[in-house]
Amino acid sequence: MDLPLAVECKGLTKDYSHFKLQGVDLSFEQGAVMGLVGPNGAGKSTILRLVMGLLGPDAGSIRVLGHAMPDEQIAAKRNIGFISDDMRLYESETIAFHMDFIKSIFDTWDADYADILLRRFDLHKHQKVKGLSHGQRVKATLLLALARRPRLLVFDEPTTGLDPAVRKEVLDEMMNALADETRSILFSSHNTLDIEQISDYITFIYGGRIIESRNKEDFMDGWRRLRLTNMQSKPLPNLPNIKDIQQSGHLCAVTVNEYDESVPAQFNSAGQVITAIERLSLEEIFLANVKCAKAMTMMEFIQ
């Protein structure tokens, strides 16, 4: 039997006075990791909250693990573990209090795994939440989400504000959670390295719109930086997929998307000498995308 998609959003729209999420289409199958990347205020958290049924869309549809959201959120959330950076536990209570509470709700609670996570995260059951550092709080929240063995993990900026060591612990545990091939993760992060490290799919969001959504290999493979020498100051070819140009004297760095073998040839025939073709890191792609998206928004505004 075919498994339903982990997440399937079609034409998702959410209108606020200050912000509009517009026509978001987003889907990925169970067993995959989808990373949402975008600048602050792009709409990442709004999408995740819509997926969780915490917000209702103004238009469009959302299905999570086959359940229509937000109407079937109770059934869906039995199989979802959610963490967001603005989520807090009860300060006056211990980790054990929270573990007992979650255990009383989910019959899938794995007590052995919870104990393993406690040791791995160096947490103590009887520590009160108010005495935990930020990193420990994130780890405690992660423990509560993972030990119930959900089929889908939805994480909103899970690694924000963590030191590199804790960040690695959190990411490692997210990866461990995927050992079962039907478990999926949808997560957002400012940290492009996190997204690059564990995602199967990458979605870039800007200004409430999806700019690009592809599997990681295609996403990373589609971008190149061409270093050119333009001795005779000839004009660059007018390619629609040029996203950024940085010129310094006769030296020029051109960032392109949708790269294929015909791109260098077009530069060569325009009289440019290509000295290097470089692949981009996700951070560089992110910055180029933001710059380009900003310029497009400005153009739309002027028009």
Partner: protein, 229 residues
């Protein structure tokens, strides 16, 4: 299987507040214990005023502290996303909050009302004719509480809840003064026989209906909310 988690949410809230409840219960019981010692040693009108404060003070404060801790602070301290990540809808969340707040306040209110009635009429501080009016007073307090609880659940905002406390406290006082001077009520207050005339029964019925309406309206509105965080 979709079994509701309302019992777990109520139990969680109870565990979060039981120390506070215990403290208020002890204060209330102490005050109730002190009142008989005062009876006969101070003038009756002083006992009535002090007794009213001693009985209602802890009960009302407990009700307000409880709804702040279980409801308003859930939002203010960002524990609500944690709760709403669990298999629960906005309507069930509200039902759970009602199921912790309403019974606890009702128990306090019933005990306080029973003790007040015993002192007022059992010990003869008030004439029997005041029974309908005192009933209206205590029902008025319950109605004000349900209205404050509704505002608190609907807005989950500290300023809105504080404002509603202020409005309903002043409003209830004004309302009680008004009915105290209504002739069909005032005429019998000092009489030796309680009279449940049409005015008195209508006022009591309306009070009960307002309390029920406030709760049902809250549940309805919460059930229709599409954004709940």
């Amino acid at each position: 299987m979709n079994v509701s988690i309302i019992p777990q949410l109520v139990k969680k809230d109870f565990l979060l507040v039981y120390r506070t409840l215990l403290m208020f219960a002890l204060v209330s019981l102490s005050f109730i214990g002190i009142l008989p010692l005062l009876h006969g040693n101070i003038p009756n009108w002083v006992l009535i005023n002090i007794g009213f404060m001693m009985l209602l003070g802890p009960a009302a404060t407990c009700g307000i502290v409880l709804l702040m801790k279980t409801n308003v602070f859930e939002k203010e301290k960002s524990t609500q996303p944690f709760i709403m990540s669990l298999p629960v809808s906005a309507k069930e969340f509200t039902q759970a909050k009602l199921l912790i707040n309403l019974p606890v306040f009702t128990v306090f209110w019933l005990v306080v009302s029973a003790v007040a009635f015993y002192f007022a009429f059992g010990l003869g501080l008030f004439p029997q004719g005041a029974v309908p009016f005192v009933t209206m007073v205590f029902l008025g307090i319950f109605v004000a509480y349900t209205c404050i609880l509704s505002v608190s659940l609907l807005f989950q905002s500290l300023p809105m809840t504080v404002l509603s406390i202020l409005i309903f406290e002043l409003g209830t006082s004004a309302y009680l003064w008004t009915i105290a001077f209504l002739d069909p009520v005032a005429h019998f207050v000092y009489g030796p026989v309680m009279v449940w005339n049409t005015t008195a029964t209508t006022i009591v019925t309306v009070q009960v209906l307002v309390a029920v309406f406030a709760i049902l309206m809250t549940l309805h509105i919460q059930g229709t909310k599409r954004d709940f965080i």
